[in-house]
Amino acid sequence: MTFTTTISGWGNYPKHEAQLLTPSSCVSIQAEIRQEKTLIARGMGRSYGDSSNAPIVLQTTYCDHFIELDYKTGQLTAEAGITLREILKVIVPRGWFLPVTPGTSYVTLGGAIASDVHGKNHHIAGTFGRHVKSMSIVLGTGEVVKASPVDNEDLFRATCGGMGLTGVIISATIQLIPIRSSLIKQKTIKANCIKAAYEAFEENSSSTYSVAWIDCLAKGKSLGRSVLTFGEHAESGGLELGMRDPISVPFYTPSALLNSVAMKTFNGAYWNKEKHNKTQMVPLMPYFYPLDAIGSWNKLYGKSGFLQYQFVIPKADGVTNMRILLAEIAKNGERSFLAVLKQFGKANDNFLSFPTEGYTLALDFKLTSSTIKTLHRLDDLVVGMGGRVYLTKDAVMQEATFKSTYPKWEAFESVREKYGAIGKFSSAQSKRLGLA
């Protein structure tokens, strides 16, 4: 007996009908892959767009076990369906932390690899994939193979950032980093325009963690005013995680609540609240995962959902180009409640990994009749500046944009062909982007 259910990414747009498979072991994942025609793996469904949507979806929820954890070396092996949150509960009290973490702990290990996620330390630590020692992947044939920077290196490079299109990751070994405290020593700097923000990033580029909240509604001289935070793991203060269960948004709120007045008020208040050049100790959970405190915050955007948009543009002409993009965003009347600016370090060799050296901006837009058009216009500008858009957030990019900004897509396809992925693993996104 099979049934379908409506699924979507975290942005609640677009929605698809899907048959959900929920295997409870590696053996049953293999059995499903041998049987089923074409599917895509899905973890927590936290990618924003349609990258884990497909008519048949293999959810790894029940394959979420720790396999091995060596407290001496900090090597962790676990099944792909485990969430970073579950990992943190175990490792932080023992003095270890994730080498790279995205802004939510509600993602799976497999998802973090498939998106090759980055964190506030990208300029120093690179992407998540850099810290993956090896992984086991079920190929389209149902066979399990090991991939690492040494074994099946091409498969490894294609799978890190490969959006689940090479096979189903069933387990992985990662290298954790030691910490002495669960506190973060945080320095806050206010930059009153985009140029000042860039300068502050450059001056503090030796900080382990850096990120900026940027006020997308500020105009004129204040265009791009930002609150930057720089962080280091503290040396003392205990290893308590202090993890709390989130307060949940129980239902979809009318999206009209997130209107321009509310956003202006929030952004203005946030700007005024923060103090320049302040140093303080903050707990790890709210520092890395501020939005995890509110369950289903995506429902605040209403039933029609929202689009998250994240691009990166090179350092050269960065200030001028970022000004052009910010002005374009403001001009179209699109409002982003939260916008995050971050410096990226060098790109890696993975075929579809997003980060390239430069600056990245992430915004969310309530879905309205004009949003998709605006994003396509922004895409054109970003392409012209030599930048590109993050596949994990994407729901609307056009095939030509993808193929011109991810030039290794053909090599990616050959690896997929070599390992029997073509015709077996496919998502709504991969179809839209013209991947086989």
């Binding site: 007996m1 072991s25 053996v27 029940y62 076990h65 720790f66 396999i67 091995e68």
Partner: protein, 245 residues
Amino acid sequence: MRKILIIGGTSAIAEHCARIWAARGDELYLVARNEERVQTIAADLKIRGAAQVTTYCTNLNDMDRHGELLDAADIAMSGIDIVLIAHGTLSNQKSCEQSVEETLAEIQTNALSTISLLTLIANRFEAKKEGTICVISSVAGDRGRASNYVYGSSKAMVTAFTSGLRQRLHKSNVAVVTIKPGFVDTPMTTEFKKGLLWVKPNAVAMKIIHAIDKQKNEVYVPTFWCAVMMLIRAIPAGLFKRLKL
């Protein structure tokens, strides 16, 4: 540190209970049918903090071995403080209707094997005058319905049996906790379309642990099922037989 015997250790609800106990540093003894899966779970629970995890593979319908398995758990942990009985299958009502053999097999798995275990455990706990027995029954046991009365009547037996056992063991300082979950999103219920009434196994597990900690008697999970089942039980049989539930 408490010593906990979990019967049906690979069930999603039991596994999530075990994770909470593991994080508290308790000692666990898992009984299950599938050797490979129970080994995976045991390794996971150790990393999550369990003081010790031992596994025992058996088919629980092999009731002659129940005494042996209890002895083994008792020896491995040198005593048992809590028993969680969580094994079971979700019967296919339609095919049961066509087969006496299948119907009896379902009742065997979901009711009789539990009764056998409860009888043995009750006597051991009664003798030492302490212990907690927690059994996962179901809201389905509160009233038989056309759509799943084979499963439902098995659970009804478990509910009635534990009710009596609770009275008997009360004076011996032994708690009997009956859990009645509603719809839980687990591998057992993959083939059901999920709606608003469905809950995740970790949420159910938190309620179960709370019920055991507080030595509750009968607990509906989530709580609203208590009201729903009260209404369903109140419908006169003459009307009930005409309803599609």
